[in-house]
Amino acid sequence: MSHVSPQGSGHPGEERTRPDAGAGDALVPGERPRRTSPRVVLVHTATFRQARQLVPALIPVAAVVGLDDGLTTVVVLAVAVTLLSLATAALSWWRFSYADRETAVVVTRGLLARSVRTVPNDRIRGVEVEAPPLHRLVGLVRVRIDAAAGSVGTNEEELVVDGVPRAEGDRLRARLLSRRPAAAAGPGPDGAGQPAEEEITRLSARWLLYAPLVGSYLVVPVAAVGTLVRLLQELPDAVVPDLAGPEPSPQLLAVALLAALPAMALTAVVGAAVVNWRYRLVRRGGSLVAVRGLLTRRHTELEVDRIRGGTLSEGLGMRWVRAARVNALVTGLGQANRRGQLLPLGPRSEALLLLGRLVEDPGPLTGHPRAALRRRLARALTAGLLVTAGGLWAAAALGWWPLPVAGLVLTVLGVPMGIGRYRALGHCAGPRSFSVRSGWLVREQAVLQRRAVVGWQVRQSPLQRRAGLATVLACVGAGSGGYAAVDMAAADVAGFTAAASSGSWAGTLAPR
């Protein structure tokens, strides 16, 4: 249907790609191998991109030479490493070339061993153009080409063309994605300013206030502090000023932590603003395009035809303020969390609207039987009770009391956790789609088209068997590969699977 003409499985002459680009390539236009801009060498030198791989080899060398902590050593080292970085960056630039042919993208690279990868155009699922800060400084972008993820490898599904001029990046994206028949009025090779662009959402400044309650943004300041501390530890002692003051008391630490809270909240907001700067989601022809980011501008493009559903995730903190994020589930595209992200942060109502555009709403969720609650509670309490029991033994034997107290606290906390986990459970099947939900720390609801299901897996442990429950996993060729309805009533399994898959094949499961 939506595929391009015969996909002439690669051209045999690829291996001949010569390092001196452009000279006398009398092939079809667009088949000439191109190289990235030489300016990218600067960027990679500054970031030690290639040289980083050599670090493990350098450490023993440094150990043998026997370095001391003197300032000159540091300077010499810095210069040497920079030169090395420059050399490797230049070498890998020189050995890299790419070509967007009529039927496939071919990337040739490798410092010593040559590697040629050919990705047929009809296996390309998305193209992302990003501009990290250093790239911007020299006017370049990085293009990530996502190819279909079969049931095989994880990292092998992405091609990266790092360091082409902005215009070339846009040309590449437009060219790779413009061959879709679904695209309205055959968009020309120019990426920008195409017709029929419909805006779906854009970032509203108020949404940034959710950030302090979202785990991943809260991690930003912590990670920054962590990096700083590690950096300080790795510097030679001579360079670091002596900061040793009086040993901090517990009270002082508590006050410092309290004072740090607003600062953390602020950094989370700033971090969210930087990452999601001028976020926009538009529909352009047959694709959904999400653009965001201040320092690194991310440009994600997904084919609407390949979207099979979406997930709505709400973390613990996000649920308090009714915030959510939405990822699209695209066939053949793994890592839905990064590559399918359509709404990174926003109000739940907005998220539901967006999800409704991706896939038809299957209706309200059905909760799971009380037996599932007992199982959730039993699990949530077990850890706490075990620690308490062990702690009591330790207290009796060694007179060590903090452990049983911690166990009791854990046990008490287990109750709301168990109840929360139970209340997250649910499933439902509508006329053209179905949905399952689970999770507590991050509650994730997956809504999928019925045709997305490529198989069902029903699991039942002896305990589930006694409780009359079973876990049903819908296998799909998108996202994480499977979405489960945990602990649903065993009697409902056959009905749900039949109602949630297209065609009659799932009727095989029905008890005779």
Binding site: G150, V454, V458, R459, Q460, P462, G482, A490, W505, T508
Partner: protein, 174 residues
């Protein structure tokens, strides 16, 4: 033979597939159990010979061997037969259907129209018993059906048949 597996039971979520595995599978599982037990015997002997005679060590001197004995009885004497009674498979007009496990049971159903590849593998032990495994792969990393331990010729026939039918009815397969 199907007596208790097919019995209507409130706790069973779905029906069981119709066909049992080859009886040779029991022999194969027994051999696997014996090999596994031998491995653990070596480990336990090694641990016990290096054990100091102080602290909680004396407890281990009888605890480890008895755990090993229990494990051996289960994996050699019980599990192969339970597994054989649980494991079933079936190819219907529209789908491949299996039931695996021994304590926790897993039913897997994949429609023929969504099959991407069909593999037949024969492990070293399987070859001794003339058995083979058919693996049916789909676009989902979690939607793989494995029919363990069929007679080799049956496995090959099933795989050929599935591949041919998948070609005929294939829609998008994703």
């Amino acid at each position: 033979m199907t007596a208790d597996a097919a019995e209507p039971d409130a706790g069973t979520p779905v029906r069981d597939p119709a066909w049992p595995l080859s009886r040779s599978a029991i022999g194969l599982w027994v051999v696997e159990g014996v090999l596994g037990t031998l491995f653990w015997v070596v480990v336990v002997v090694a641990v016990l010979s290096f054990l100091p005679d102080v602290g909680p060590a004396p407890v281990l001197r009888w605890l480890l061997p008895s755990l090993l004995a229990v494990d051996a009885v289960v994996t050699i004497g019980i599990r192969p037969w339970v597994r054989y009674r649980v494991h079933r498979w079936e190819v219907t007009g529209e789908a491949v259907y299996t039931l695996t496990g021994w304590l926790t049971r897993t039913w897997t159903l994949v429609p023929i129209s969504r099959i991407q590849t069909v593999d037949v593998t024969r492990g070293v032990l399987q070859q001794l018993f003339g058995l083979a495994t058919v693996a049916v792969l789909t676009a989902s990393s979690q939607g793989t059906v494995r029919v363990l331990h069929l007679e080799a010729d049956v496995a090959q026939r099933v795989a050929d048949d599935l591949a041919r039918r998948a070609e005929l009815v294939r829609d998008e397969a994703t």
